[in-house]
């Protein structure tokens, strides 16, 4: 269940980018993978604890986001969805292979002193790194939620999401908003990567196992809806764990995809999404 926090952080980044920019970022998992490598190298080369690295990783990945927006996404932001999909899929494959060339396909591990430390709550035991990942991921998600809800910049981003043309007419620099949105989304993925690095091995395709579920979470919660993404992540993690325990591990994906289809049949826009969310945005 503690993985729900990480799913939420990845999904919130995805849903933010989709909500404001109307772009499905297929490279989100690769930015998570880069976050894992950042934690690994900082730990290996300079003995930085992953949670210390996290403090630097968030602004670092924000800058990486700004850079990739300027170099890759700005050119396709007004292109068709097909072009955007091909671009982010291409970015995903390119990043995976850059990691493979630079760091090989070898599994690498971050082993801080607390990596095997366990906390006991009654009869249940939790790894410390999992608990920290859950708490920090939820805190970052809540902070982002508050930023979008109450800050001036957040309101500007929501205004752009609701009507790009009207926002431009009101004097909002939409290109800047898109750059900011993309950079925040990438920073979320990078932070999630740093948080899971003490728990899972680091390798070039490590992001895939998280991002597949994040897509399910985003659609389940409602495209572009951050609260929906958070609830969706809890539902998916709950079904995954409960289904594995009661029915069998082989059934867990069948179960949450059946739930996913069932919810979409009843509420096509997801649990919290509005109909036509892809046009309305957040």
């Amino acid at each position: 269940m503690l993985l729900a926090g990480v799913y939420a952080l990845v999904a919130v980044g995805l849903t933010l980018i989709f909500g404001v920019m109307r772009v499905v970022n297929f490279a989100q998992g690769e930015f998570l993978m880069l976050g894992m490598y950042a934690a690994f190298w900082a730990f290996t080369l300079w003995a930085f604890d992953p949670y210390v690295t996290l403090v630097g990783a968030i602004p670092l990945f924000f800058l990486v986001g700004l850079l990739t927006y300027a170099l890759v996404m700005r050119g396709v932001i007004r292109a068709s969805h097909n072009v955007q999909i091909f671009t982010t899929v291409g970015l995903s494959i390119a990043l995976q292979n850059v990691a493979l060339v630079l760091w090989t396909g070898d599994f690498r591990f971050v082993r801080p002193w607390y990596y095997s430390m366990v906390l006991h709550f009654g009869t249940t035991a939790f790894n410390v790194s999992q608990v920290v990942a859950f708490v920090v991921a939820l805190a970052l998600t809540a902070a982002l939620f508050a930023f979008m809800r109450w800050s001036y910049t957040g309101r500007v981003m929501r205004a752009t999401a609701q009507d790009r043309e009207a926002a431009s007419l009101m004097g909002i620099d939409t290109d800047r908003v898109y750059a900011l949105t993309w950079a925040i989304g990438i920073a979320c993925a990078g932070a999630a990567g740093v948080l899971v690095a003490p728990i899972y091995p680091v390798y070039p395709t490590a992001g895939l196992q998280f991002v597949l579920l994040a897509y399910v979470v985003v659609v389940l919660g409602g495209l572009g809806d951050m609260a929906g993404a958070l609830l969706g992540s809890l539902i998916v993690a709950g079904v995954e764990v409960g289904g594995s325990y009661v029915i069998g591990t082989a059934w867990k994906e069948v179960l949450y995809f059946m739930l996913f289809i069932a919810i979409l049949l009843v509420r096509p826009a997801g649990l919290f999404g509005q109909r036509g969310a892809e046009r309305l945005g957040m």
Partner: protein, 424 residues
């Protein structure tokens, strides 16, 4: 005062000795003989694929120092098989563009089926050295051969080890043993697990308390399974893992204090991969993995020919990599050495004559690299009981050979496994 022999006598003797010692070594090779080598060199299996290729290259150089194949220098055309589709297309390219008549490889059971089908369509020989999917040699393809054991052999060996070596030390009878099967759901995992389940129940009457399969690529949390196993209280967990799933399951079992008496795996993946030791160090002490021989292996237990080639192979790996051979090295090298023996006997790559030479080859256990023997069946599978395998155990961050005991100087520890913090 000693009488020194004349210089001309010394030089003549040296010349004669060098000719005798040369034998097959260093004799002039007439031209080149090219084979295709297919490995996953990019993508998630790249690391193991590169190690496998390294094993081929080391053995190729050894073969060329011993007269090559059919008197020619052995050379490779290498293909990158990232996934089954690429495996098929690269096989076709190696045959059509590079002109090879024999393709060998591949590290993975997910690749060998597609690659061998592609080779079969072009009537080329497919010489598999490492995949263990039992279906591979059940298709009755006349061009397909496998030097490595198949998955059912892995299952057979694992249950043999459990019934004959572990159960007596638990002071139990085999039919009193509670065993939980857990496996990733590829053809490799399923092949090994189903064979083990069948033998455990059918031959020994072991009590199967669980049989769980999971998707390797998307499973990153084993807590539900660990909690379920805690309730079922198995004596042994038979876990066929593929990669980091071994690390995650072991860590989470430790965190949840799952008290099994032993964990048994088969193959160079999961618990059989050096990555397991890198991730856990001494915290990974205890699990068993059925593999090719590792440290502790008693070379003297092999036949004279086997001792010679095994010793020279180890020295070559040590020289090139600075370490003991890993499973990927051993599988590739063992298979390529047998290919040389066949080609030297067949003296051609014509399929019918090559096949006749394969089926005629008959070497007892201990004759070749890894202590393997050879006796191929009509379906192209080397006999499981000739492909001698060994049980290795993680002891202080290293996989060491512990069984069969006649082949090793090291003994298994922690039987049964004690408390998680007392295995050092």
């Amino acid at each position: 005062m000693r009488h020194r022999p004349p210089l001309v006598v010394v030089l003549t003797a040296a010349f004669v000795l060098s000719l005798l010692a040369g034998g097959s070594h260093g004799q002039p090779l007439s031209g080149e003989y090219k084979i295709g080598v297919l490995e996953p060199l990019t993508g998630p299996l790249a690391f193991e694929g590169k190690r496998h290729l390294e094993g081929f290259e080391i053995m190729r150089d050894m073969i060329n120092e011993r007269g090559g194949v059919m008197g020619k220098k052995l050379v490779f055309a290498v293909g990158d098989a990232t996934d089954p589709t690429a495996a098929a297309s690269e096989t076709s390219r190696l045959i059509a563009r590079e002109g090879v008549r024999i393709v060998t490889g591949t590290y993975s059971s997910t690749l060998c089926g597609a690659a061998s089908e592609a080779a079969s369509r072009q009537n080329a020989i497919y010489w598999e050295t490492s995949c263990v999917d039992p279906r591979f040699t059940r298709r009755n393809l006349k061009n397909v051969f496998r030097t490595e054991i198949d998955g059912s052999g892995f299952g057979w060996y694992n249950i043999e080890f459990i019934a004959k070596h572990l159960v007596p030390r638990f002071n139990l009878k085999p039919n009193q043993l509670k065993i939980a099967f857990l496996s990733e759901d590829s053809s490799y995992g399923q092949g090994v697990t189903e064979a083990a389940r069948q033998r455990a129940k059918g031959e020994f009457g072991m009590q199967e308390v669980a049989a769980e399969y999971y998707a390797f690529a998307s499973t990153n949390d084993f807590t539900p399974i660990v909690l379920k196993f805690k309730q079922l209280n198995p004596d042994i967990v038979h876990h066929i893992a593929r990669g980091n799933d071994a690390v995650i399951f072991w860590r989470q079992s430790r965190e949840q204090n799952l008290p099994f008496k032993a964990l048994v795996h088969a193959g160079a993946t999961g618990y059989g991969s050096p990555d397991f030791g890198k991730a856990l160090g001494a915290d990974g002490n205890g699990p068993f993995a059925l593999l090719e021989p590792g440290p502790g292996f008693k070379i003297e237990a092999l036949k004279p020919d086997g001792q010679k080639i095994e010793r020279e192979f180890r020295e070559a790996v040590q020289k090139k990599t600075g370490s003991y051979p890993f499973g990927g090295h051993q599988l590739a090298a063992g298979g390529l050495w047998l290919l040389k023996l066949v080609l030297d006997r067949a003296k051609t790559d014509d399929l019918d004559k090559f096949r006749a030479a394969v089926l005629a080859l008959d070497l007892p256990v201990g004759s070749s690299v890894n202590g393997w023997g050879v006796k191929f069946a009509d379906n192209g599978q080397n006999a499981n009981d000739r492909v001698q395998h060994y049980m290795l155990q993680w002891q202080d961050g290293q996989l060491v050979t512990v069984w069969p005991e006649e082949f090793t100087t090291v003994r298994a520890k922690w039987i049964p496994l004690g408390a998680w913090d007392q295995r050092k």
